[in-house]
Amino acid sequence: MAEDLNWAIGGEAGDGIDSTGKIFAQALSRAGRHVFTSKDFASRIRGGYTAYKIRTSTEQVQSVVDRLDILVALTQRTIDENLDELHDQSAVIYDGERSWEAEYPEYITGVDVPLKSLAEEAGGAIMRNIVALGAACEITNFAIKNLDEALEKRFGSKGEKIVENNKKAARLGQEYVAENYDLDVDYDLDETDNDYVLLNGDEAIGMGAIAAGCRFYAGYPITPATDVMEYLTGRIDEFGGHVVQAEDELSAINMALGAARAGARSMTATSGPGIDLMTETFGLVATSETPLVIVDVMRSGPSTGMPTKQEQGDLNMTLYGGHGEIPRFVVAPTSIDECFWKTVEAFNYAEKYQTPVYLVADLALAVTEQTFPPEAFDMDEVEVDRGKVVDDDTVGEWLDDEGRFRAHANTDDGVSPRAFPGTIDGAHMSTGLEHDELGRRTEDTNVRIEQVDKRNRKVDTAREQEDWDYREFGDPDADSLVISWGSNEGAMREALGYLDERGIDVRFLSVPYIFPRPDLSEEIAAAETTIVVECNATGQFANLIEHDVLERVERINKYNGVRFKADELADDIEEKLATEAKAQ
């Protein structure tokens, strides 16, 4: 059977779905298998339908597909919700006392395991999910020692007894299936020698921040950005940093601003509704020329929208949000490892150009876990560029005739010197009011123009100095061009394979920079058809591209709250290209 296996556990929120899924994902990762997870969860603590899906292969996987091979159904609704994805090689593990009352298609193999009573035999009903994991190991011929290791990692801190009980629960599940079923469904989850780490986008952002030297974080909990704060809490301290849970987003960004002015690499993270609140201070950050990284982990909007669902709807907000005209950079990682690297880049841009940088991720990146070789996060590759920082010895070059520090000096590249508080003779004020080179308020028309131009010039400088490139996949000579940003890269890369099988060649550009962004005019001119793929209704990125190249592009938009799936995206692209061909 195929190497590629899709496994899921579903039930009610509060059933331990998330931790069970994570344990299995870790077991697979420890066995050297590639893992890609996705979560379907509701905005409630208990009840409602929630699921954790894992796709695993010996090859790299980076998206979800419309297929489920093994489903652990803790409730009947779990089966109902996933019926479309089950096929004739699917097995559904369930507890006959709790689910499977309805009639389901005959081709689906039901594996009735007394999860609760076996768990009680192992030491407590709470372990019924672990019994199900043991059962899944048997069906998939997966070495249970990997599960043992994951259980040790998960429960080690709770004592040997708990670990042993969980291992026993897994054994009971495995043995029950082995003794009572002779299944036609057959999978082999082989092990490999690969050594992987398993993490999600929020964690990668937090890890990138620490690696980049971020030492101060202030935030307010909000789905799906909270994991960034939870990751940093307790870890950043070991590097001399600190996390503050602020009273609201307004406070969070202002604290982060204060820390940045004191010289710290500083960050805040939130989601759309929090960005709205932070926008008040965003202009101040830009005008006072304070380096700050603001992470927006997008979810469905507007307003409180769908807090636990995927969308890429905040692009316009991060590009244009705030009154007046504000120079800023907008960087959008396209994969989980890129969440790490783009965070590092974001800090360098922020300090080199003394601007706020929006790091825009989306829910699909944030909550998805994926395996990577540890070298994907090689700390030796991390570069820290603090820009034009002056010290006691060099501050003199930037003093005016009266010995005052020109904190907003009008330079050719638009970037002024920066003196951390404590620097002798560097004392100066910064303000959200229009100001002169010394930071003092002014309404002088010439100074106003000079300072606006100076701030905007930083963007021109950055355009010249940095590599605002895209990531390219597929056939470079294909007539059909697909462009996307954010998390769609994974599904699209895999869709390329499906399209290739159908004889459709596609060139795919994944763009991690929204502003500044690469000039795609040549690429689009060379293509017969250009399709922009994004998770929003109005095609915010497609609009930008049309604006840049003065040419119409085709769009594939998804805004039902669910990320693109690779097979579905391949179908959409095939259909779009066929329609285009007919029109020509």
């Binding site: 690696a211 002798i424 100066h428």
Partner: protein
């Protein structure tokens, strides 16, 4: 800067645009004197202000400073202090800034107890927007937006601070130069959040809470032999409401500032050129 810092070293060369006679002149002079008297200099001092008349203070003083948006000065000052605990951080604002738009931040700054000094220039009116009621305006104070008075009781900032767990509460009067500077000095020297509500009269729009009014009505706690470490006595004075006091009303001598309770002691500006030693452990954690 040398060690013999004069208070004029904290003065910028920008002439204040406050109205002649404004209470803010005295408030600021006292802040500068207190900073100099406590051994600070402009290079280790960070002053944060919001907007309005009070917000202009950063412009007229010479130090590291940020003039931010309305009501958010306390979070900025808190962030500065956390990132570099060696800095002397002073936050200044008005009654609108601190008790209206920034009231939420005030409560939380108080309970966090960062080692910063918070000076509120309370003139009981909105001055720069030309005379509307403020959160500390009297119930019957007629203004352009409250022709019959606000008809609601004013905020009692001292009570708000006390209820939020303040470790230092004082009240001062901008025209009593000596006492005012002394009180700010005590706030600076307090280990924790030093909150000083300063009566700083608006000579243009407030004809009720005037210099004469405060001169006649303020009771100096020093003359009453008030013990600021006596919580009960402080509570009574803050809540009784029939007298207005000047001086340190409450000081928790056991106060431990945020950076000490949370172990935030490093200057966060000091980071290595690349990823710090030990960052590879962060990756290994995900095995």
């Amino acid at each position: 800067m040398s060690s013999d810092v004069k208070f004029t070293d904290f003065k910028s060369d920008k002439q204040p645009t406050w109205c002649p006679g404004c209470g803010d002149f005295g408030t600021m002079n006292g802040m500068m004197k207190a900073l100099a008297n406590t051994g600070n200099d402009p290079d280790n001092t960070f002053v944060v202000a919001g907007i309005g008349c009070s917000g202009k203070i950063g412009t007229y003083m010479h130090s590291y400073a940020l003039h931010g948006v309305h009501g958010r000065a306390l979070p900025v000052g808190t962030g500065v202090k956390f990132a570099n605990p060696d800095l002397e951080v002073m936050v200044a604002g008005g009654d609108g800034d601190g008790y209206s738009i920034g009231a939420g931040h005030f409560v939380h700054a108080v309970r966090r107890n960062p080692d910063i000094t918070y000076v509120v220039m309370d003139n009981r009116i909105y001055g720069l927007t030309k005379g509307q009621a403020s959160p500390t305006s009297r119930q019957d104070f007629e203004t352009s937006t409250t022709p019959e008075g606000p008809k609601q009781p004013p905020v009692n900032p001292l009570a708000l601070a006390l209820a939020s767990g303040a470790t230092f509460i004082a009240q001062s009067f901008s025209s009593d130069a000596l006492r005012h500077a002394e009180i700010i000095e005590q706030a600076i020297e307090h280990d924790g959040f030093g909150f000083v509500n300063v009566f700083s009269p608006c000579v243009t729009f407030n004809d009720v809470d005037t210099y004469d009014y405060f001169r006649d009505s303020l009771v100096d706690l020093q003359e009453e032999d008030h013990d600021p470490t006596d919580y009960q006595s402080a509570k009574e004075k803050i809540l009784e409401g029939d007298k207005e006091y000047m001086g340190v009303i409450w000081q928790d001598e056991e106060s431990v500032p945020y950076h000490e309770t949370h172990g935030v002691t490093e200057n966060m500006a000091d980071i290595p050129d690349g990823a710090a030693d030990g960052t590879m452990d962060l990756v290994r954690e995900f095995y």
